[in-house]
């Protein structure tokens, strides 16, 4: 039943896309409604699936999935009596676990909102537009649900195509350049990631002494670490980095993002920021950390430095922007820096803070793009110098705008704060990173307040300033928000407050999974390298009587993690 729901959730939009595309010309007006209905069904399905999440968190083995569906899809090789030999299996294997559930929920929530926000904004080639949006939905949900690495990769690349068309056809004046750049840049990176994943799959088969290469996610994330050398893991990490870091985007690989965001139509920007950037962070979380923990350890400081640089750099770049949308886009660079900083603190706090950050960033940045889009629809400009004092004309929009800005700058009581503070505390506490990362990261909070409040202040407050001939209300808009627009923003506003007050809604189901799937692997790697590199030190830290202190014992001891005050291995 759950499996059916999950598959419907993923493929119903694709089916609907075909229907929408082939609607007759005179029924064109049905396209938006149909898409909205389908995406709402998707939201309901996602809600249905998420009901099982608390049960999942209680599951001890950590192997259970919600809505698991598994089938062999492409099988190459010799079928012998004992099964397959000398071949490759590509499975269709989907399911939700604690790590992917929040992101699926986020996607399922934002799709109907971005469909609804396009009703008045998109007025040409309507059927195609909604069809691509629905195709994109399938891609995004598929990525997070995939349990097979190749399937993940297929969906991962699959998202590029609809977005390419969405930006390229319905985008701003520089849409073609932006679309090609976005496509080529991210594609170039992910090809290297693909190579890395292939290599890992092949090596996994070698290590396990099997002749069949399969790309099962769990299998690849539980490989014996001693078999895969540290150098190999570092190189693999670098390969995975190429695709994921561009997607995140991590400084200095971020320059495609402001352009793509600015040129994309509102729905495209919303989904790009809220969901597609998370593919990168999710990739690091799901693949880089558990599959090549040695590599992650070796690269953690580099990642930390890049994250901190991104935080500060993105914030400074925000500050000079005159285009509100570009400003919000650059703020994503800064925010995702926080996300990565938390992740590579390699602490439970940091990881759960990081996942929470993904969700929160999706909510608040998505909401900001929606608000900016609503302003743009009325005034046909996003130039800070041409707008001012809009709060007088649009008090409701102003309230929402201020709320989301405050959420974005991490005001306590709203969602952004919890993730920001946990991430910073984690960076402080981390023995991989350290206090300085926390200190430098905290400047992002300061700068964030500056640029966001200046922008909001310029647009909303002060004397009224409107470009001549605006607001343009030809599409049936009103000066202030219409009922439809309020309905789009209200759910996000509610979530922004709810997650600010009760972050445990997201983090509680996560903690167990993060520990068993990721942190234990990292600890294992640390223990292994401690023994390998500092046997004397290891013995010194844990001088053990009665024969304990063997390699196994040490591994298990570190598995649990160093006890406070005792200090772990370097």
């Amino acid at each position: 039943m759950a499996a059916l729901a999950l598959n419907l959730l993923i493929f119903l939009p694709l089916l609907a896309a075909v229907v929408v595309w082939t609607l007759p010309e005179r029924r064109q007006a049905l396209a938006p409604q149909l898409s909205l209905a389908v995406s709402l069904v998707g939201l309901a399905l996602a809600a249905l699936l998420l009901v099982g999440l608390p049960g999942l968190a209680r599951d001890e083995s950590g192997a259970a999935l919600i809505g698991e569906a598994r089938a062999e899809w492409i099988v190459v090789g010799e079928r012998a009596a004992g099964g397959l030999r000398d071949g490759v299996i590509l499975r269709y294997h989907v399911g939700l676990d604690a790590l992917s559930a929040p992101l699926i929920a986020l996607t399922a929530l934002l799709v109907p909102l971005s469909v609804a926000c396009s009703f008045t904004a998109v007025r040409h080639r309507v059927r195609e537009y909604y069809a691509w949006l629905l195709v994109l939905t399938t891609g995004m949900l598929g990525v997070f649900a995939a349990r097979d690495v190749l399937l993940f990769y297929i969906f991962f690349e699959f998202t590029l195509v609809p977005l390419y068309f969405l930006i390229g056809i319905w985008g701003g004046p520089e849409r073609r350049y932006a679309a090609s750049k976005f496509f080529l840049y991210t594609f170039a990176g992910s090809v290297i990631t693909f190579a890395g994943l292939l290599y890992l799959g092949i090596r996994a088969a070698q290590i396990d002494g099997l002749s069949v290469i399969d790309f099962d996610l769990v299998r690849l994330s539980t490989l014996s670490l001693t078999q895969l050398s540290t150098t190999e893991q570092s190189l693999l990490f670098a390969a995975l980095f190429c695709g994921f870091a561009i997607k995140v985007p991590l400084f200095p690989l971020h320059t495609w993002l402001p352009l793509a965001h600015t040129e994309a139509p509102t729905a495209g920007s919303v989904l790009l920021a809220a969901v597609l950037l998370k593919l990168g962070t999710y990739g690091f979380l799901r693949f880089s950390l558990p599959m090549v923990p040695h590599g992650a350890l070796a690269w953690a400081q580099v990642m930390g430095v890049l994250a901190v640089l991104g935080i500060i750099w993105g914030a400074l770049c925000c500050w000079v922007q005159r285009d509100v949308k570009k400003l919000v886009a650059y703020s994503s660079v800064s925010h995702l820096g926080f996300c990565m900083l938390g992740m590579f603190s390699l602490l439970p706090v940091g990881l759960s803070g990081s996942v929470l950050y993904m969700v929160n960033h999706g909510l608040s940045t998505g909401a900001l793009f929606l608000v900016v889009g609503m302003i743009y629809e009325r005034y046909h400009t996003r130039d800070l110098d041409q707008l001012g004092g809009l709060a007088r004309q649009m008090p409701v929009l102003a309230s929402f705008f201020v709320l989301f800005v405050l959420s974005s700058i991490g005001l306590p009581g709203l969602n952004g704060f919890v993730s920001e503070i946990t991430v910073l505390l984690a960076a402080f506490n981390s023995d991989v990173l350290g206090p300085w990362y926390g200190v430098l990261g905290a400047t992002g909070i300061l700068l964030g307040a500056v640029y966001m409040l200046y922008a909001a202040g310029k647009v909303l407050f002060g004397p009224l300033k409107e470009p001549p001939g605006t607001p343009d209300l030809s599409a049936g808009l009103r000066r202030d928000l219409t009922g439809r627009e309020i309905a789009i923003l209200a759910p996000l506003a509610v979530l922004v407050v709810v997650l600010g007050v009760a972050p445990r809604l997201v983090t509680d189901p996560l903690d167990g999974a993060l520990q068993s799937q990721i942190l234990d692997r990292v600890h294992e790697a640390r223990a292994a390298s401690a023994i390998q590199h500092h046997p004397a030190y290891a013995a010194e830290v844990h001088p053990l009587p009665d024969g304990r202190g063997s390699e196994e014992w040490y591994t298990t001891a570190l598995f649990i993690g160093p006890e406070p005050g005792e200090g772990g291995p370097p």
């Binding site: 759960s352 007088r392 919890v418 984690a426 909070i445 307040a449």
Partner: protein, 741 residues
Amino acid sequence: MSQLEVLLVIGVLIPLASFVLLAFVGARLGKPAAGWVAVLAIAASTVLATMALLQWHGMTPDQRLAAHSAPLVWAHLGAVPITFGVNLDSLTLIMFFMVTFVSTCIFVFSVGYMAGHSDEIDGVSKFHRFFAYLSLFCFSMLLLVIADSLLLLFIAWELVGLCSYLLIGYYFHKKSASNAAIKAFVTNRVGDFGFIIGLGMVFAYLGDLSLAGAAQAFRDGYAQQSALFTQHLLGVSLATWMGMLLFCGAIGKSAQFPLHVWLPDAMEGPTPVSALIHAATMVAAGVYLTARIFVLLTPEAQLFVAVIGCITLSIAALVAIVQTDIKRVLAYSTISQLGYMILGMGVGAWIAALFHLLTHAFFKALMFLGSGQVIEGCHHEQDMRKMGGLCRKMPVTCWTFLVGVLAIAGAGIPAAHFGLGGYFSKDEILAVAWHRVYGAAHGGHVGTWERGNVGTEPDTRVVLASYAQHDPGEQVVHPGHLNPEPRTLNPLLFWIPVLIAYVTPFYMMRCWWLTFMGRPRDEHVYAHAHESKLMYLPLVVLAAGTLFASYYLFRPMVAAAAPQPFLTWAYDGEAAEAAHAQGALIDHGAHRALVPIVGFAFVAGFLAAWLLYRRGLTLAERLAQTLRPLHTLLVHKFYFDELYGLVLVGGTMLVKAICYAFDKYVIDGLVNLSARVTERVSRFSGVVLDQGAVDGAVNAVGRGTWELGGLVRRPQVGRVRNYILFATGGVAVLVLWLVLA
């Protein structure tokens, strides 16, 4: 939760409910009704606060201890649970009472004040918003007061900052208001930046964000000489850094040097806001924070606190002398008084500083509301040079304002136990400062002195007294109690505050005299001046509070909450007096020493102001002419705004412009370059290699095959014998080759 905690929590939640109500249906409630809803809510909180206070008063230490209950788990940070609970002690209760009481007065005043204001912008009334924000502010402030964890404190702290931002920018269609709001928020964020780092250090090194837990871990850490105490950065121990960074939050919120610049600009907000937020409660949050983290301060960090306080109080008082805007005089006097409190914290006058906070809240709210009455009555005239003689038009305001002036000036009868609240509190701060500078030299012995039953707080150990008799039998050495000899402070930390104690009455009397006394200087303003009843009732209540309640109500409550700091010292001037009365062996009581030094400062200050301003502005203008450079320096507020504008704002302008240019041209340029290189390479490979070489090769192969085909075709003309001939020949060659091989 115990009954007492429930009372407080409900008291916190009522204003929140009022906020939610007003935010959503406030517009429908309309003009006066929305305001009265907020008044009702905060009045209910005041009633609860009073009930809680009375209940607490009647409890024995054991009962008080039993009233604490386990905090709630809010989230997990890894393995560390983050708990939120109520920090139940005398300080919390008295602060809670003060905030609700003063707020109620200000809310009532606001209803009157806003009634006379056109608050419609483009036909939409914002009246309800004002009271919604005020309610949200009260909620945040009360949350801050009851917070038992640094994180919860920080949350409330930021919310308070938000309300300040919203309320300063209330007249958002004015550019100056919008800018002032942003300036306030951002400057506060600079302080919060330090606070967050401090929080990070607390979490990293102490592993507990609750106040009690952190204090315990701090002690244990010292006993075990943990990294916090052994590691140094720039020659300062990490523990000191932690204290200083946490204190940074207070620097921002309490408008201390060098982040004091936002407070005068914050006067852009409506006057009741200035009274509530920027005088009585919010700015005091910084002092409250310092009081709560007092146990985490090292002596060096404490010295830092004292120095910051000392610089602030002097700068602000000097600037206040030349201000002509009535609200700005009050703003600078607020900064200066906050400086006194911070200095008090820094020299160890924990009790006196908080006592001063409470008395200051009353008299400063009183004066701000008075100024609001004046501004409202004079149709938005804020320039004191155009006022004068208003006493006849608004007598209640005039005389209640004078009560405030007397209180802030520290009027009282020296050497007798009689005076206004400000007299006691300021005197005690100075006394402790005196003691820290000269106490040891004058033979007043410094030692630990256990006051057996005075510590009425359940969890607390005991209040420390300074001027204790030297009796080894009474000297209780706590486990791990270190630092028996606090260092002697620099005399400047005593003499500068003393000097400023003469300046304070001067500028306050100047303010009062210019406004209410003398001859009217602007007939137009004078002619229309009037006062409104709804607005002066709160003034009377606050004046009564200033006159009577402060000393006997506040001082004992605060004293009962005094912490037992660990590395630093908290001095109790009162206890010293008591010891003195009991015939304890003290050579010189600090209070005695202070009488000739500062006891008559208020008289001198008043007299000077009176002499200078009794005949209007001419004398003062002539004096300003004589002291031109000094006057210019003060009028420009020591050029802080200009300096910050140039260095910080200009500097970041440059940096961010460079960053963006680098981003656009270098980083993105590299990306584009790589794309172009790829394109060139592919063009090269496409045109030259592919079409020329590869395709050429393919074509060549094709052509070769073609020609070969033609060549081979020739023999194939369909004659069978030819085929047989070829086949035989071929086989022969093959056999031959095989045989030979």
